[in-house]
Structure formats: C-alpha cells, structure tokens
C-alpha cells in the first residue's frame, strides 16, 4: 500500500508543480510587470528600474523561475506588495472562509443533487425524469452572479430575511452558499441520474429483483452504492468548477475568501497573491481528487484490490 500512496503523492506533486509553473509563465507573458503597476503612472523610469532590480525582475527568466520554485517548495510565494505581508499568510488567512463557503455549497449540492438524481434516474424517460432534467438545465443556464444578485434583491431587500453581503455569522453564509450550490446541484443531479439509470440496467439489479426485494431495497442496497462510485469520480473532477464559481460568488457577496482576494490581486498585479492563490486552489482540487479516489476505494472493493474496472 505504501509504495502506491507514494506514487500517487508523486503524481500530485507533479501536478501541483505543473500548476505552479503554468501560472508563472502566464504572469511573465503578461504585458507590464509588477514594478510598473506598483509604482503607477507617477513613477520615473529610474524608480521603475530600481524597483525591478529590488524585486529581482531584471534577472534571467530561468533564474527567476528556479528561485521562485525554490521558495514555493517551502511554501513561500513571496511578499504581497499590497498587503506587505507574506502571500502565504494573507491567503491562509482568507482560506477558511472559502472552505466554509465551498464546503457548505458542496454539502447542499450533494444532498439535493443526489436526491434529484436518484428520483430522475430511477425511471429514465419518465415524467419525473424529464421535469428534473428541465429544472437542472435551467439551474445550469443561469450565471451565478445573476442568481446571486437576484437572491440578494429577493431575500435581503424584499423579504428582509437574510443579510445581503459580507462575512459574519452563519446567516451571511446562506445566500452565497445557495448561489454557489445551484449549478453544482444541477451537475450532481445530472451525473447521478445517468449513473443510476446505468446501474439499474445492470444484471445484478435484475438478480436483486429476482430475490423478491422491494424496489426501495433494490435501489438503496444495490443500486445506490454502485451509482455513487462514478458520481464521486466525476464530482471530484468538478471540484475545480466549484472553486471557480466560488471566485465569482465571493465577489458578489463580498465574502472574504481567497476568491475575492484573487480577483483583486489579478487587477492589481499582485503576483505573489495570484500565484499563491492559484497554487492553493490547485492543491485543493488535487487533494479532493485524491480523497475521492480513497472514498471510491472504500466504496468499491474492486478498486481496493486494484482490479481495473
């Protein structure tokens, strides 16, 4: 077991390295560098080149890259010029808020999505199925920022039920979590639907029926567990989509997570923050994928045994 885990970890590290390098490259390709942005239109050319030197931006690209990589390994993404603090500290400060938001949204999406998906997949082509298909399509078709603002206007302004924006107690969490969960719920529901539909066509479901089990038992004991396996895999692949959605939702609701931090940092060319955030989010995605694999191994004895299915 150990060597496999090490291999898997090696793959993770490779992936994160790739993510780190890609961000580096993109930011270096971008027009204008940190020095010009930092000093603004009032700076003289001498000031700019002095700052460039100070930041090490005048060194050869490869040197900068290796240097950056070297410190990235130790968790150091440099200092944010705006926050005057280590980027890692700034990001980690904001991270719990994003975890809370994304976690709540995931929990919501999984509960409702699985329910809808099972209802639809139980009788593919039926009325329920088509109704749920329609609903989920609509849920996926509405941009998050739009549904977010609409929810604010409805729940906060018109009904005065919930606070509109900002962080704080749990009531602040409700609207952003719902907004973020809407498309994700639809996704989970759609994947679950097709998975359940596929599994219920498997011969072993017929076997279960031939034992005289009730449909409910057939579904809960035989179909569900097997349907969840592909759902876990695909949903884990979409964790990234969720995190991307979080960026926008945080912006709408002034949720102080890494998403809104990133948007600000991109605008201000705060390289350290941009790089650190992307890498952190990449690590989250990769870790979630690993967790999903572990979960699947728990759910499916064949995966545990290494039988490729």
């Amino acid at each position: 077991m150990l060597p496999q885990l090490i291999r898997r970890l090696g793959l993770m590290i490779f992936t994160v390295w790739g993510a780190v390098s890609l961000t580096f490259v993109i930011l270096r390709l971008a027009p204008g560098d940190q020095a010009t942005v930092q000093l603004g239109p009032d700076a003289t050319a001498a000031d700019v080149s002095a700052l460039r030197e100070e930041l090490g931006l005048d060194r050869p690209m490869l040197v900068q890259y290796l240097d950056y990589l070297g410190s990235a390994i130790t968790g150091d993404f440099g200092e944010s010029y705006r926050f005057r603090d280590s980027a890692t500290a700034v990001i980690l400060d904001r991270f719990p808020a994003t975890v809370l938001l994304a976690g709540t949204a995931t929990a919501l999406a999984l509960t409702i999505g699985l329910l809808l998906g099972v209802l639809a997949g139980r009788a593919p082509g039926g009325l329920t199925d088509r109704a749920i298909s329609g609903i989920t399509l609509v849920m996926q078709a509405i941009p998050s920022f739009w549904s977010g603002i609409m929810l604010i206007l409805l729940m906060a302004l018109t009904l005065r039920l919930l606070p509109s924006a900002g962080s704080g107690d749990l009531r602040h969490l409700v609207l952003p979590a719902i907004t973020l969960a809407i498309p994700f719920t639809a996704l989970v529901a759609r994947i679950t639907r097709s998975s359940v539909a596929e599994v219920t066509a498997e011969p072993y479901i017929m076997t279960a029926r031939s034992k005289g089990l009730s449909e409910r038992l057939v579904l809960s004991r035989h179909a569900l567990r097997n349907s969840v396996i592909p759902v876990v895999t695909i949903v884990s692949l979409h964790i990234g989509t969720l995190m991307g959605g979080a960026v926008i939702v945080e912006q709408v609701f002034a949720w102080e997570g890494v998403g809104s931090l990133l948007v600000g940092a991109v605008g201000n060319r705060d390289y350290a923050i941009v790089q650190g955030t992307t890498v952190l989010l990449a690590i989250v995605v990769v870790t979630m994928n690993l967790l999903a694999d572990v979960l699947n191994a728990r759910l499916d004895p064949r995966i545990r045994a290494g039988v490729t299915s």
Partner: protein, 297 residues
C-alpha cells in the same frame, strides 16, 4: 390482460396505435423546439445585424433607462427598452447574439480541434504519448474552473482573442478526455484491429476507423461546452475582464445592467433570458445527442 411486476400497465396496444402516433408526432415536435430556437439564434446572429441598425455608440441620453415598449425620442419603439446610455436593448441583444454565438463557436472549434487531436492521438497510440498528454491534462485539471481564464483575461490586454484563448485554454481538456477514452476503447475494437492487421496506415486508421466514432459524442459535448463558453464569457464580463467595451455581447450587457437590477431590471434580465434560453436549448439538444450517441455505443 394483466400487468405484472414491473409492467407499468399501458392500455391494450391495438386501439392505441393512432393515439400513439399522434402523441409521437407531438413529442417529435416538442423535441424539435430547442433545435428550432437554437436555429433562430444562429439566424439572428448571422443576419440580424444586417436587418437591425444598431450602433453600440449610438445612444441618445434622453432615452436612458426606458422600460420595454417605450417610445424613443426619434419616434421608434424600443421593444426591449433601453440601457443606461439610451441604447436600444433589442439591437444590443441581437448584436450580442452574434458576439456570444461567435465566441462560443470559436472557443468550441479551437478546443475541439486541439482536444480531439491530442486526445485521439494519445488514446490511440498509448505509451509515452499518452503519458505526456495525460500529465498535461492532469495539470490543467488542477486549475479550478474559470480561474485560469480569470488570470489570463485579467493580466492581458482586453480583446476578443484573449477571451477566446482564455476560455479555450481549459476548454479543450473536456474534448481531449472524451476522445482519449473513446480512442482507447475503439483501439480495442475488432474492426480497428482488422485494419491494423491488414497493414492500413495509422493515419488512415485514425481518420477512417476512429475519428468518425468520436465525432458524434464530441458533437454532443460541443453543445455543452458551447453553452459553457457563453456563460463563462458572461462571468468574465461580470468581473470586468471580458471583451473590450466597443464590442457588444450579452455578457457585457448583463454585467452592465447588474447595477440596475432593482430599477431597470430589463437591461440585465432580457439578455440574461436570451442567454439562459440559448443555453437551455443547447443543453437540451446536447442531452438528446448524448443519449442518442450513448445508446448507439
């Protein structure tokens, strides 16, 4: 007659036949609706701008924020109302359709082309090629959703090309994954093996025995990605990272109208509905295609 077990109890078959065909016709018509609507969008995108005269800079400030159906100062009627600069929203929606459909199409074309090429070759050849491709895909998959698009669109100068590139950078992965896995299964099909055994050249095998089968599901995926690209463009516009201001797109209009949701809802809502409707229609079509090609597998 009885029904048993799992049988749902449909009425006796014989008298049903005419009703069944009628219902089938109705169903076929209903099923065609999304495609027809989608077609209308495409037509609007292509010829709309030729019919409707709209200038993105031609606002009359006296006509700001007029509700749908209002009469403008020049005597014409603004079917969908006007925006904060007094520009006719109907024209904006039609012109925006062109941009959005264009961006969606371009993103899908680029991503599909790149994705299918990489995926098919990797899946078919396997070995090192596949390893390299899979690792690249892994790396890109680690980037959350539109994050990469935000970074790219955020740090480069605004232009249509940048938006298209930013969206394509992650979009092609879906195509690559799909075609890779399909190529891997197809590779094991006996007809591919027969061709290999007969000494048919690799390129020809790809073209004749593999790609045609990837085409269908890819097309189904393309519809979803098309919708996704349009939505993503809207999200970028919302963050202020979208197209240059001179271009008209739904995303821009929706984002511009978000300030007026409480007062002039139509600015955001109408292109929003246009967008959602298109995405839904495309989604329906995609679902049908997916199911169709899924069944054919």
């Amino acid at each position: 007659m009885t029904t048993m077990g799992l049988v749902q109890n449909p009425a006796p078959p014989t008298p049903l036949v005419p009703a069944r065909t009628r219902r089938a016709t109705v169903r076929r018509v209903v099923a065609a609706v999304p495609i027809i609507i989608f077609g209308l969008y495409v037509v609007a995108a292509i010829i709309g701008p030729l019919l409707i005269d709209y200038s993105p800079v031609g606002g009359e400030l006296d006509d700001r924020l007029l509700a749908p159906g209002s009469v403008l100062s020049d005597g014409s009627t603004a079917l969908f109302g006007t925006d904060a600069l007094g520009r006719d929203l109907f024209g904006q929606v039609v012109y925006g359709a062109r941009t959005s459909v264009f961006i969606g199409t371009l993103v899908v074309l680029i991503s599909a082309l790149a994705g299918i090429t990489v995926g098919t070759v990797a899946g078919y050849r396997g070995g090192k090629t596949d390893l390299v491709a899979s690792r690249i895909i892994d790396v890109l998959l680690a980037f959350p959703g539109i994050l990469l698009a935000i970074v790219i669109a955020g740090v480069f100068d605004r232009s249509l090309a940048i938006v298209v590139i930013a969206l394509s950078v992650t979009n092609w992965i879906g195509f690559a994954r799909l075609s890779r896995s399909m190529a891997m299964t197809l590779r094991e099909r006996d007809w591919v093996k027969s061709a290999t055994v007969m000494g048919v050249r690799r390129r020809r095998i790809l073209a004749r025995h593999i790609l045609p089968f990837i085409a269908g599901p890819t097309f189904a995926l393309a519809t979803t990605e098309f919708a996704g690209a349009i939505l993503a463009e809207a999200s970028l516009s919302f963050l202020g990272l979208g197209l240059p201001s001179a271009s008209v797109s739904w995303g821009q209009t929706i984002a511009a109208g978000k300030e007026y949701l409480a007062s002039a809802w139509w600015i955001s809502a109408i292109p929003g509905i246009a967008l959602a409707l298109l995405v839904i229609c495309v989604g329906f079509t995609g679902d049908r295609l997916t199911r169709y090609f899924g069944r054919k597998q």
